[in-house]
């Protein structure tokens, strides 16, 4: 991937990011009194006025915007009312946990999907295929928070082999990973199966067989690399979803990640936290998108930009 292309993408993404934050700025002021976003719904008028002055919301919008712009450039998203620390600090502390959780869950999901999707495609129509299909459809349809609760019920409460929630050593990661893994696994199995079926029927696979390649080679060397392309795109999408959307699972297990922070921030009306979280998530999504593009180009030579 050439440097010029990379710079163009970065510039565009920064523009989008700026646009996003500005949109949030204005939306907050257009959808009612911004003070409401910082206080519980039943706060007194006095408290509201005090907060308004404290946040500088009584100033003309133009000055607010300048102040806000300055703060953004300093990465000052305000102080989290709930944690009593700069919001950006709190968020950056939680970010690695979410990234690790998402990465582990997605790796298992992708690997498992490639394996089971290929097997299902090679044995299309057989009972193996039907079972894999049904299981993956079920996995793709399960509400992750419910799966979390059921897992807690079975493994933590009844069998007592795993903790119900909390954070610490590897054992606290097992159930969150399992819950985050289920839906992407289900979706990806379907996709891999579909694109493997297509690849296995392609003309170049027929050529490989004519050359004398046995089934293993045909499936995993010839067909798979072509079939992976759609799966990678979807995995990229899913990764982006995880960056901000794995929150429900984190909430169920009390896992200290960005998703939980965002949701808690919303429920506790801690706007600084919400703002900082949105910013971080947007950056992570941009990085993931670039990474997916690069991976795609590495696998499919037709996409590469010639030097």
């Amino acid at each position: 991937m050439s440097a010029g292309y990379f710079l163009k993408r970065t510039a565009f993404a920064l523009l989008a990011l700026a646009g996003l934050m500005i949109a949030v700025f204005f939306l907050v002021r257009l959808t009612g009194d911004p003070v409401n976003l910082y206080l519980p719904v039943d706060a007194s008028q006095g408290a509201r006025d005090a907060m308004r002055t404290k946040l500088g919301l009584d100033q003309p919008v133009f000055f607010q915007f300048l102040d806000w712009g300055g703060q953004m450039l300093r990465f000052d998203f305000g102080t989290s009312l709930w944690h009593n620390r700069p919001a950006i600090e709190v968020v950056l502390q939680a970010l690695p946990n979410t990234l690790a959780l998402g990465a582990i869950a997605l790796t298992f999901a992708f690997g498992g999907a490639v394996l089971f999707g290929s097997v299902a495609a090679v044995r299309a129509g057989s009972w193996v295929d039907r079972v894999i299909n049904l299981v993956s459809q079920a996995a793709a349809s399960v509400p992750d928070f419910w799966l979390g609760l059921m897992c807690i019920l079975v493994f933590a409460v009844t069998l007592r082999v795993l903790p119900t929630s909390g954070f610490g050593g590897p054992i606290y990661w097992v159930l969150p990973v399992v819950c985050l893994f289920a839906r992407p696994f289900g979706t990806l199995v379907q996709i891999v199966r579909g694109s493997m079926l297509e690849a296995l029927n392609a003309a170049f696979v027929r050529t490989a067989r004519a050359k004398g390649a046995q089934t293993g080679r045909v499936t995993f060397v010839h067909a798979l690399r072509n079939a992976l392309l759609p799966a990678i795109t979807v995995t990229g999408d899913l990764a982006a979803q995880f960056a901000g959307g794995g929150g429900v699972v984190e909430v169920v297990f009390g896992f200290p990640g960005i998703g939980k922070l965002l949701i808690d921030g919303i429920l506790k009306r801690d706007f600084a936290l919400v703002q900082a979280s949105i910013f971080c998530v947007a950056i992570v999504i941009f990085i993931i998108n670039i990474a997916v593009d690069m991976l795609y180009a590495a696998i499919d030579p037709r996409v590469r930009i010639e030097q």
Partner: protein, 305 residues
């Protein structure tokens, strides 16, 4: 050949329906999905007709475990902390869960069609703007956008539907626009323009028939997705608010009793899963039915000439 024409070789409505029925029976999982959805619809109808009413809060039945028929059929799935039969609550929640999903998807569909048509037909700056914005919306995690949206605008039912609709709209916009662009190039559209046909007529007669099957498949998959999102949002407390009820909310309400009355959290979530799965399976079936090269899998019995 439009999907509807190509659906069956003969042209009468009755034989087309019979063919569809055979195709449905040919796929046992799709059939099971259809049956489950009928059960859910029956439950909704029964609830709205008052079949479950007359249950005053009966504290004797507090946290009653399920599968015990001796308390009557209404309490077969157990009861909650206030003694209300779970079966009734599930039926009541069903209307909210499915209703919101359907409303959101229909809004997405309509909005996507309109915006896609506008983007494709007028092109230029408006078209570009629509596509850029929809790309950005598509790039963001749906849950994130929904959460922030509900945070900013307040968690009402209308906002819930709108927020869910907007996050799903880009896919429809793309499909509609792509089709409009293609149709615009074709000669016969120019011919009808010569005859004074307006864009509405072209939409109805040229674009809709071709776009319909893709949109419908998208819609059925989306209903499943939106149901999952709504249940997640309601579980967090940002979706349906009490005293209204949805399956997701029921799971949240049952969470506190996980160790003692597991059915309170289990059955609503199970209902979400089964309904979502049914929509997904039917979407799959619908896609196979619409694809002429795959259809034979469903109706492989020889037809008598």
């Amino acid at each position: 050949m439009s999907a509807v024409e190509g659906l069956a070789p003969s042209s009468s409505l009755l034989s087309r329906l019979k063919w569809l029925w055979r195709a449905l029976v040919g796929d046992p999982t799709a059939l099971a999905a259809a049956i489950w959805l009928l059960i859910v619809v029956a439950g909704i109808v029964a609830f709205n007709l008052g079949a479950f009413s007359g249950g005053r809060i009966d504290l004797k039945a507090r946290n009653l475990p399920p599968f015990d028929i001796s308390f009557g059929w209404k309490l077969w799935l157990g009861a909650d902390a206030l003694g209300r039969p779970l079966l009734a609550r599930l039926a009541e929640a069903a209307s909210a869960s499915i209703g919101i999903a359907l409303a959101a998807v229909l809004t997405s569909l309509a909005g996507g069609l309109v915006l896609g048509m506008v983007a494709g037909y007028s092109g230029g700056h408006i078209g570009n703007l629509i596509m850029r914005v929809s790309d950005i919306v598509m790039g963001f995690p749906t849950l994130l956008v929904a959460l922030v949206g509900l945070y900013l605008f307040g968690p009402s039912v209308t906002n819930l539907i709108l927020v869910l609709a907007i996050t799903r709209m880009p896919a429809y916009i793309r499909v509609a626009r792509a089709e409009v662009l293609e149709v615009r190039e074709r000669l016969f559209v120019d011919a009808s323009r010569v005859f004074g046909a307006g864009p509405l007529w072209i939409l109805r007669n040229h674009i809709l028939p071709i776009v319909a099957p893709t949109m419908l498949t998208l819609a059925s998959v989306n209903v499943a997705m939106v149901m999952l999102f709504e249940s997640g949002l309601s579980y967090l407390g940002l979706g349906i608010q009490p005293p209204a009820v949805s399956w997701g909310l029921m799971v949240a309400q049952g969470q506190g009793y996980l160790a003692t009355a597991w059915w309170l959290a289990c059955f609503p979530g199970l209902a979400v899963m089964l309904t979502t799965m049914s929509f997904n399976l039917l979407a799959n079936w619908f896609r196979i039915v619409n694809d002429p090269t795959q259809r034979w899998r469903l109706t492989s019995r020889k037809r008598t000439p």
